[in-house]
């Protein structure tokens, strides 16, 4: 009787283990395939000079911002500018797994901070991205669900852009290390279009042209 019980228990344990392993394999596989399926070749950005032919300054500014918007609206930027307290992830911008929230300073919840998983640099062995400044954008900087015109107005608004002047905004876009991560995101993530330098040049040219925003 005891032997039979032990055998049954052992079989159940093996089955449970196999089941759990299956879940993890499935989870691991789906994580990779989810990203793999959406990987795209990195897009290019048009250089600032290609907008010189637009003589109307306001129209040129709008066109420049629309080009820069290819970066701003890429998953690499949008994932961490969520409309809710939860970020998204992968090129498909699915909800972050596990559930994490913005928390104080955008650094996560007590006991489950961003740094619990995200360290100083990408760690490709585990497929986990990283940067010393890894954090979520504050609520007033939410971009998801907004049009490019709305985002444009938002990033000019010092009440919603971290009190940055336009000059400081250009510097942030062109030089900030966490912004720069978007072009070095590690495997299975499509980098933001172009380069940070090109993106910074577009933002500077947009500011120089009057920083007009697309309608809508």
């Amino acid at each position: 009787m005891m032997g039979s019980f032990s055998l049954k228990s052992a079989m159940l344990a093996v089955a449970a283990g196999a089941f759990a392993t299956g879940i993890l394999v499935f989870a691991h596989g789906s994580l990779l395939s989810d990203a793999d399926a959406a990987i795209q070749p990195a897009l290019k950005l048009q250089p600032v000079t290609s907008f010189d032919k637009i003589k109307n300054k306001q129209q040129r500014a709008v066109a420049l911002f629309q080009e820069a918007g290819k970066v701003i609206q890429s998953p690499r930027c949008m994932n961490c500018h969520p409309a809710t307290e939860r970020p998204t992830q992968t090129d498909r911008m699915r909800p972050h797994q596990p559930l994490v929230v913005r928390g104080e300073g955008g650094l996560g919840a007590p006991g489950m901070m961003c740094t619990t998983c995200h360290r100083e640099a990408n760690f490709d062995a585990a497929g986990v991205p990283g940067n010393p400044k890894w954090h979520l954008a504050p609520e007033e900087m939410a971009w998801q669900g907004k049009s490019l015109g709305q985002i444009c107005e938002q990033i000019k608004d010092r009440k919603r852009n971290g009190d940055l002047t336009l000059a400081a905004l250009v510097k942030h876009m062109a030089e900030d290390d966490l912004v720069g991560w978007a072009w070095s995101p590690g495997p299975n993530r499509t980098p933001a279009p172009g380069t940070q330098k090109e993106f910074g040049a577009l933002i500077k040219a947009w500011v120089d042209a009057g920083a007009s925003c697309p309608k809508g």
Partner: protein, 154 residues
């Protein structure tokens, strides 16, 4: 391979390891502390949770070379009053079932109580949801954290 010194649970350990080796394998294979478990290897399950510099880290997603001089605490080295309260509550409420995830669960629960002495259900859920339990002991885990918090009130 690189010579590295890890300070784990108050003791120094010299190991020879690839700098990109996950900290988890340094702890388990190089040092021989097997209380920390491998679950998924991609920071999705929390079984490998340890403290680095006093804060919880998924040791599968951190290269051993990134630890530097920070103190590492594993399940074998937990001894704060919060940790002891958590362990007592775990026994009292008979929390584990198969037990595989429990060292990670206890690390995360301890960290939460060290930061937040009186967590709400939501605080617990937010801190613990990265620790997956295949036996679904979540209700007992939450109850045990409340119990541990209450026991710490004195």
């Amino acid at each position: 391979m690189t010579q590295l010194t890890l300070k784990i649970n108050g003791q120094s350990h010299s190991i020879d390891a690839d700098p990109d080796m996950p900290l988890l394998w340094a702890i388990r294979e190089s040092v021989g502390l097997t209380g920390t478990k491998y679950g998924c290897g991609v920071a999705q399950c929390g079984a490998c949770t340890v403290f680095v510099g006093g804060l919880p880290v998924r040791s599968c997603s951190m290269p051993v070379s990134a630890v530097g001089a920070d103190e590492i605490t594993t399940i074998e080295g937990l001894k704060s009053k919060e940790a002891l309260a958590v362990q007592k509550a775990w026994v009292k409420l008979d929390v584990p079932q198969c037990g595989y995830c429990q060292s990670g669960q206890i690390m995360s629960a301890t960290s939460l109580l060290e930061i937040n002495a009186k967590p709400t259900d939501r605080d617990i859920d937010l801190a613990m949801n990265g620790n997956i339990c295949r036996c679904a002991t979540y209700v007992r885990i939450r109850a045990a954290i409340h119990d541990a918090a209450k026991s710490l009130e004195g």
